[in-house]
Symmetry: C2
Amino acid sequence: MASPSFLQDTYAGRRVLITGGLGFIGSNLARELVKLGSKVTIVDSLIPEYGGNRRNLAGILSRVKVHVADVRDWPRLPRLVRGQDYIFNLAGQTSHMDSMTDPQTDLDINCRAQLAILEACRIHNPTIRIVFASTRQVYGRPDYLPVDETHPLRPVDVNGINKIAGESFHLLYSRVHGLRATALRLTNTIGPGMRVKDARQTFVGVWIRDVVQGRPFEVWGGAQRRDFTFVDDAVEAFLLAAGRDEAIGEVFNLGGPPPVTLLQLANQLVDVNGGGNFVVRKFPAARKKIDIGDFYADDRRIARKLGWRPTTGLRTMLERTLDFYRTELTHYV
Amino acid sequence: MASPSFLQDTYAGRRVLITGGLGFIGSNLARELVKLGSKVTIVDSLIPEYGGNRRNLAGILSRVKVHVADVRDWPRLPRLVRGQDYIFNLAGQTSHMDSMTDPQTDLDINCRAQLAILEACRIHNPTIRIVFASTRQVYGRPDYLPVDETHPLRPVDVNGINKIAGESFHLLYSRVHGLRATALRLTNTIGPGMRVKDARQTFVGVWIRDVVQGRPFEVWGGAQRRDFTFVDDAVEAFLLAAGRDEAIGEVFNLGGPPPVTLLQLANQLVDVNGGGNFVVRKFPAARKKIDIGDFYADDRRIARKLGWRPTTGLRTMLERTLDFYRTELTHYV
């Protein structure tokens, strides 16, 4: 794992831009960077369907700069990227279903805006370190499990296609234009601040909301196996990726503790909550077409190259997430 | 190869839209379809940097409908796709260098416009047969030769990244929305009507122009091996791909006669021309970064599935191309 002194040396006093910084992972990253003594600037569109929520910065709002702006608003980008030491680039459209019903918006945010950010860097800050939040969705339905980084990319939805382009742009600008970029392919990430209004980030959000509200939640299918990363582990991966030269030009999967079926997860959630119930439903037809079946990631590459390992077990991540939403839910629904 | 009666049965009296239909391959396709008795509509932007040229339709202008329109002009698309039986989707930005200096334009044409065409089809013509012109550029620098369709996709420029997205959108709409799409990955295509003003389609265009004008042409490097498809063979591949159910949802490489080095090609061009000369130059640094080294395609998959085989040898394709430009060059420079 990253030693505290390595992170301190890397980030204390440094200027850091987080796109999507009011979102789930971005805000947790901001909180950690503030602790490490970074000068944090956040840009977030606060589009209601996306993950941004001012509440995510509770306690550190006075210690970060927040620009409510859309990364599609190109003229603002040069001023934002100039002088930064690091960019954590997490602004994105994450909903698989929305990408199918409104593909152009997904393209605008996950491709056009990404190119605009990279062009702004190339012109105004050409040696910047940048870490891009990609997704396991780039793989599509796995040929084998666990899925490593050499697995073919055969995305099953527009979101997966556009995220491939987004990460490819980052790696290309790293190779050709001198930016120093890394892409992390995230799986389901869980923790305080996650979107629970709907399933746009992960279906687990809705389960958490329902169980906290004492309502039965819906399990679609149930036999699919999935893996889960706790947000603190994901944050550490971002910090390591931006800080280590071995990560430049590379793409890494993030994983978590051993995968479970959705039914196992549902039972564990009810157990950790000390009560609750769920109903199992057939997989809806419209989603079936873009479902990926079983998925869990092989994260040995980032372990080998950067020494990152997920340290939070499933039970702990559910406990800490439920704890958070027991008091905070009103700010997130 | 395709039997004449199969092509007649498939295309006689049918309505066919060709995007980029004033371009090199699109216009050759239009000419063949007119012969087969199709009702051909062409849409082409005639942007000077792209391949469109009215001269390409010499002799058949009165037998096709031509809309000078940009595929980025979305409101016009529904009217264009309605009622068509086939779309040959060849509108694209092809220059690798331009994609690096103006990546957003490449994205607009090769991704946004493609999504708009597909959305127009989904809404207004949901079972249409569509063939998308992709490129060997999606592969990047080969791991092995010849490159088959399972080779990893690691594009070395923005154009390659965007063309991957473009073909992925087509295959996704085929799988999820019922359109019936095929993608063809083209290598260097040669023949009458090719762009010779500059190297935006292939470097061979400039060689042809220079040798016809009696000027020495420039060979960069020389040792790189490449393969070449004659345009008539490429046209046949498009016609087969749209006509055969086995092609739906598939992606195929096109290839040609055995590959040659650029020096061998240069010598053969001078030989076929009955004179001429060239100078060998070091590969320019800006292009070196996005060069792919040796490339030639394995085209056995389309041979196996559709029975397509390139039948034109290198000498013949150079002869026929030179013959054309000896009389036509003034319309193309």
